[in-house]
């Protein structure tokens, strides 16, 4: 009986460890470079947008966040590209919204009201285009993007979280 209890407690602890260790920060999105061996790093920070209710929402029920994109170093622009631009996009890419031009060491500010989304930095011919056209230089996913159905959790299929 005691052994069974200890095994149960152990299993619980390990499950908890697995769950917690894999948990991304709710409000900070790490941005990573996309090229082979890229060491580019940055972050996009979400802050709840100001609301007299303490929770900013749209009529459709989306949470509204202020977004700050910070990248300390970016590679030189090449070809016809003249600017790095930050975007937010849904996982389905059915909504893509421009946040603004990204300058190394500076903060680019905007808003986002999406459920699962990614932050993308692209190299663009101009900083004000409505959609990204250039190559993706950096990207990161919101914590909500990692939600999957229960069948998709690798630990239930004998796998190990990567």
């Amino acid at each position: 009986m005691t052994g069974r209890f200890i095994r149960a407690a152990g299993a619980l602890g390990l499950l908890g460890l697995a769950g917690f260790a894999a948990r991304p920060d709710l409000y900070v999105i790490p941005l990573k470079g996309t090229g082979p061996g890229s060491r580019l790093e940055g972050k996009a920070t979400l802050s709840p947008a100001r609301s007299p209710f303490g929770l900013a929402t749209t009529k459709d029920g989306y949470f509204v966040f202020d977004l700050e994109v910070e990248v300390p170093i970016l590679p030189p622009l090449s070809g016809t590209n003249t600017a790095f631009v930050a975007w937010v996009a849904t996982a389905q890419l059915d909504r893509i919204e421009r946040i603004g031009a990204v300058v190394p060491g500076a903060t680019t500010r905007g808003k986002v009201a999406m459920n699962k989304f990614m932050v993308v930095i692209t190299a663009e011919p101009n900083a004000t285009g409505p959609k990204w056209t250039g190559p993706i230089v950096m990207r990161g996913n919101s914590a909500s993007s990692y939600l999957t159905n229960f069948s998709g959790h690798t630990m239930f299929n004998g796998g190990v979280p990567q």
């Binding site: 149960a8 499950l15 949470f63 229960f150 069948s151």
Partner: protein
């Protein structure tokens, strides 16, 4: 870390056969997603609730046969229903200074969704009587408990004498079945307030024991002129084909997320209707009396102006797109209806379906406003178009501004400890921790929430300076103190949730959220703190006594999330 995780999971696999089979997802019947087919745990009085609207989840292997460990309770069992009176809509009680009122908590019958249900009511009404008084009035309430369990009445938001606060164990003993209690109410502040039991709120309030108190200011233009004023209590009730889903008699149930209802009630009715003339301005005084649900209300394209919060008005009126109102909060808004037509009042949320890991837009219409073609009898368009700045309101905050930026005196962490649930359930919960929204709008993990009781789930207010928790916390203040409290909602716990935190007997100011100063102040008594966020508030200690502070999710209160602070004269 990856190596550690891999090792952990290999070890888990080794012990899993002995203690809990990891759920075999291949056995899940993904073609049987309608509600809970194959997953109807529990029967009769201890049955599983229906899934939230539009959500479908398959049976989860390993969870067959689970049920909450509790003694189920439903009102009226064994009673002769013929002796239970049918409830009537609330009546307005216009009371003068010095008046008294008899308030009886008892059984009533309601007919909802075609079913006759036994519920509770104050004075046989739903909601309880609407008490209307002038600011600074004093009245006496003779309370009588005709329920089948002890009770007491808390006068939410009133800065009244401590002995009348209605908090059993702190300011009075519970009123026994058949017993009485004399409350002396004092109304120092104008605005909209409410009353409800402070014994087993998860049962008594949910079953209909709530009512509003409307306190009129002597100031003639306290609120802007309006063509109509609607005092609206927002609620939800959890029912299925058999009736109301049971409560726990010995423990609180739905202890993780609270009891989300599936029948929306406005002033106790499922079908709220309002007819107005074209051009009318309507003032809505909202109170959220739901156990756990936060609403996100909107009014179509009709402009909405926010004017007041829990206790009084904002410094500056502002236009808002939606009204987000958490349990126990109140907001005063004005809406202008310019175009004839029919306008639903939707509660629109991006509901998280935890099983599928997906958000889904969910719209529940809580009422309908019909705008006629007849023009308004009195056009308030000009005043509606003006956003007032109220220097007299700002002046009330002036003495406290020096406290806004200083170091907090108190530091509270809101968190949870969950122990003793079935291991398979805990396994699911642990992988369900990848993401938590700032606000949970629906019960998207119905089975887990249903099984959890206050025996396994312990919601915690932790004083980070003393490490004391909940009722072990000792906070001593004296009248005249201004106490700055930082509250952080732990986003890394087993299951974070937003919390509406209520302080009894005093007024509060939210001065910053997540380090950003609040730019439009209003006095409050209940503050919504979303997941992973921080709020800085000031407690204006004006009212001596021993007072409660707690989460106003009724099930979180039942699961321990409460503390006491003392204000010395």
């Amino acid at each position: 870390m990856k190596r550690l995780l891999r090792g952990a999971l290999v070890a888990l696999g080794a012990v899993g056969t002995a203690v809990a089979q990891p759920p075999d997802t291949a056995r899940m019947k993904h073609d049987e997603h309608a509600g809970h087919e194959g997953m109807k745990h529990g029967t009769g009085a201890n049955r599983m609730p229906p899934m939230p609207k539009g959500m479908r989840m398959p049976p989860i292997p390993g969870l067959e046969g689970i049920a909450p460990k509790m003694v189920p309770y439903l009102p009226g069992e064994g009673m002769d229903l013929a002796t239970v009176p049918m409830a009537t809509p609330r009546k307005l009680l216009d009371l003068a200074d010095g008046d008294s009122l008899e308030l009886v908590a008892g059984f009533v019958k309601r007919k909802l969704r075609g079913k006759e249900l036994v519920m509770y009511g104050f004075n046989g009404q739903y909601p309880g009587p609407l008490i209307r008084v002038r600011q600074s009035a004093r009245i006496v309430v003779h309370f009588k408990n005709q329920l089948d369990m002890p009770s007491a009445v808390h006068w939410h938001g009133l800065r009244l004498d401590n002995k009348s606060d209605g908090a059993p164990g702190v300011t009075q003993d519970p009123v026994p079945v058949g017993g009485t209690f004399r409350y002396e109410l004092y109304f120092p502040d104008p605005g909209i307030y409410w009353y409800h039991p402070h014994v087993r709120e998860d049962i008594q309030q949910d079953l209909g024991l709530y009512g509003n108190m409307l306190v009129d200011s002597p100031e003639p233009n306290y609120y802007n002129p309006a063509n109509d004023e609607q005092v609206v209590m927002l609620d939800d009730l959890l029912i299925d084909d058999e009736g109301i889903l049971p409560y726990g008699k010995d423990v609180g149930n739905y202890a993780i997320m609270g009891r989300f209802g599936n029948l929306f009630l406005v002033n106790g009715e499922p079908d709220y209707r309002l007819s107005v003339n074209k051009g009318d301005v309507v003032r809505f005084l909202f109170t959220n009396v739901a156990n756990t649900r936060t609403f996100n209300l909107s009014f179509g394209d009709n402009p909405v102006k926010l004017v007041g919060a829990d206790i009084g008005r904002f410094e500056r009126e502002e236009m808002v797109e939606t009204v987000v109102i958490a349990p126990a909060q109140r907001y005063a808004i004005e809406v202008k209806f310019d175009k004839p037509g029919t306008y639903p009042i939707p509660n629109t949320v991006q509901a998280l379906n935890n099983f599928l890991g997906e958000f889904q837009e969910t719209v529940d219409t809580i009422g309908v406003v019909t705008v006629g073609t007849r023009p308004t009898t009195k056009d308030h368009g000009r005043t509606f178009a003006t956003l007032r700045t109220l220097p007299q309101v700002s002046a009330e905050f002036a003495p406290y501004r020096g406290h806004f930026d200083r170091t907090p005196d108190k530091d509270l962490l809101l968190t949870v400890n969950i122990q003793g649930l079935p291991i398979t359930l805990t396994a699911f919960m642990s992988v369900d921790t990848m993401y938590f929204p700032p606000q949970e709008w629906v019960d998207g993990m119905r089975d887990m929430n249903w099984v959890s009781t206050s025996r396994e789930v312990h919601w915690i207010m932790r004083d980070l300076q003393t490490k004391r928790e909940n009722m072990d916390i000792v906070w001593n203040m004296k009248v005249g103190d201004v106490v700055k409290v930082r509250m952080t909602n732990d986003g890394k716990s087993m299951h974070p949730m937003s919390h509406p935190i209520h302080f009894h007997g005093q007024r509060l100011l939210v001065v910053a959220r997540n380090g950003i100063p609040e730019s439009n102040l209003a006095w409050r008594d209940t503050i919504l703190l979303p997941v992973g966020q921080t709020v800085d508030l000031l407690i204006e200690a004006t009212n001596p006594g021993k007072w409660m502070a707690h989460c106003h999710i009724a099930e979180h209160l039942e699961a321990g999330m409460m503390m006491v602070f003392t204000v010395a004269p």
